[in-house]
Amino acid sequence: MKRATLAALGLATSFAMPAAAEDIKVGLLLPFSGVYAALGNEIEAGFNLALEQFGDETDATFEIIREDTEVKPPVALGKAKKLILQDDVDVIAGIVSSGVLGAVRDMVHGAGVPLIVANAGNDEATGADCSPFITRMSFSNSQVNRPMGTWMHEQGIGKVYTLAPDYAAGHQMIDAFTASFTAAGGEVVGQEFTPFQKTQDFGPYLAQAKASGADAVYVFYAGGEAISFVKQYDSFGLKAELPLYGSGFLTSPLYVNAEGPAAEGVITALHYVPTIDSTANAVFADAFTAANGRVPSEFAVQGYDAARALIEATKTGASDRASLANALRNVKFEGPRGTLSIDPATNNVIQPIYVYETVAGEDTLTQKVLAQLPAEADPVNGCEMAPVSN
């Protein structure tokens, strides 16, 4: 019934155009339960919004099959198999956790199904483990942090203490920052990795940061850990003497309100903030806020742009797995984040990075963009991109 309706819709939209409507089956593989459920819902909301806003631009119609990864790699692999073999999808979009991405990587690569990554930032996915079928529309861990090292040194910060959770993403984010910060002439006076998802009290680490003699602290935390960290940082009164910088997930609009006034004055860098001053962003942010009752986060824009990339790809006439994979690698458009394109060497998105400060707005916290750092492609990191062949 649903397919029939969609097909009818497709017919209706293609009425004016001579090309035949293509029905494209999309597997949406996201966590709708587990620790990243909030991110899964956010990405889906963005994804659906883009289909609504830009669906008319293409002849193709989309049938969405959503599956819950539960943030468990074996579960996600099972769901990916089901989407590919049973539902026979043309393209998969989603994936929040890098662990899940690692688990499904060989499956989608082997089956030749294009995958649009809407979050997972593991550097290797567009490095040594890259695949012509995997296109990332979100970010890579080092892409978000690398420009911040140079920028902070330019602001006159000489010594930094870093903190992050002890897992792959934490290390990649901090390593990328450290590399560019030291290359610019800065010094990292102390570095600590806290047990991932086992640290509730950051007090011991904060006292060490204070005693380290650093000019500033640079951190990566996300979700619940970010909220605890920012609140505890403020409660120790460190913000005044030791400004807090970090990867922008620290003060993501998704949970900055749970952090409250403690987040004011924290300066971070990210590929998207809801206050970017552009028409494309205004269109997106207003529609998202109207539909969901909250401002969009970077996760929402990732879902939005993933769907947008799919629509752009179908506009070239691509409709099966191989042609979609090829077309996805060539998409380029102006989105809420600015101009997005895909790096042909790695299939990672190339996008500007925004440095922003969290400030008090009228009744909630808001983001003040301090600088827009130019878009840069990641280093190839051992990626040998084979052409798409089926």
Binding site: S33, V35, A37, A38, N41, D166, E192, F193, T194, P195, Q197, K198, Q200, D201, G203, P204, Y205, A207, Q208, A211, G223, G224, E225, A226, I227, S228, K231, Q232, S235, F236, G237, L254, Y255, N257, A258, E259, G260, P261
Partner: protein, 289 residues
């Protein structure tokens, strides 16, 4: 790295603060276990529930409303749990109890997600306890001092009740030998019920107190469960002394481990747990000799 005295004072306070938070949780769990021989793994979920109630109530009537009413609300949930589930499970052996309460963790986790959503909540520290106090050459957040004071006050109150009052004597008798206590005319079942509800209220209080410090997320109950179990295994089941010493050991090992041997921070406490289990399997201060 050379550190001054202030640094170590600060870390000792951090350790004490973590210990007191764990003490509030573990005392309820350990007395329920000691008295009822009932393994309630869902104790962590009650803590999460306490935090959520506190967050919701704080949004309506300010922090103190959450602080006072969240434990009452959680005790209410405890009444439901007791009459609906635990009473029936009393005689069914530890394996069934562990399985049921373990399942309960996930049921409660999903319930909190349905009622409060996936997004993390946060509440503000009340104005009275905002800011920092300077003493002993350090500046320490007032709210953390409040947690330490609260933990110590509850410890003192419990120590007094258990050692000096009739109800305390009845509880001790029940922990020691419940059949004998029943023969002496103590309504052990009613005593169990009261202690269970009080334990739940303390878990709720711990949640309400932790909420402004940490973030309120659906899985916070799962995260705190393992530390709590470690505390009661190290301290010994069923005793106040065990709960307080276990909490202090956990707090200090965790905090100073993170400072002195950060690479080992997450392993250290488990190594200690293993050592205690090998050397003194009943824990350091078990209720029964």
């Amino acid at each position: 790295m050379a550190h001054d005295l202030g640094f170590w004072t600060l870390q000792a306070l951090n350790a004490l603060q973590l210990s007191m938070l764990l003490f509030l949780l573990s005392i309820g769990l350990t007395v329920i276990f000691g008295l009822m021989h009932f393994v309630n793994l869902a104790h962590g979920s009650l803590y999460a529930l306490g935090a959520y109630f506190a967050a919701s109530l704080a949004a309506v009537g300010g922090y103190w409303m959450g602080f006072f009413l969240a434990p009452v609300a959680v005790a209410g949930v405890g009444v439901l749990l007791y009459s609906g589930l635990i009473k029936r499970m009393r005689k069914s052996g530890p394996m069934a109890q562990v399985l049921v309460t373990f399942g309960l963790i996930f049921a409660m986790l999903d319930l909190t997600r349905i009622f409060w959503g996936d997004l993390a909540l946060g509440i503000e520290v009340p104005a009275l306890l905002d800011g920092r106090l300077a003493f002993l050459g350090v500046e320490y957040p007032t709210y953390r001092l409040f947690i330490i004071a609260l933990g110590l006050a509850i410890f003192a109150a419990l120590a007094f009740v258990l050692a000096r009052t009739q109800i305390g004597a009845m509880i001790r008798a029940g922990v020691d030998n419940d059949a004998m206590a029943a023969c002496l005319g103590i309504n052990v079942e009613r005593l169990f019920f009261m202690v269970f509800c009080f334990g739940c209220a303390l878990a709720g209080l711990a949640g309400a107190v932790a909420a402004p410090l940490l973030s309120v997320t659906p899985d916070m109950g799962l995260q705190i469960l393992i530390p709590t179990l470690i505390v009661i295994v190290i301290g010994g089941l069923g005793s106040l002394k065990g709960a307080v010493s276990g909490s202090l050991i956990y707090g200090f090992v965790q905090t100073f481990g993170a400072v002195l041997a950060p690479q080992l921070a997450s392993v250290l406490i488990y190594a200690l747990l293993a050592a205690v289990l090998v050397i003194k399997p009943v824990g350091l201060f078990p209720a029964k000799g």
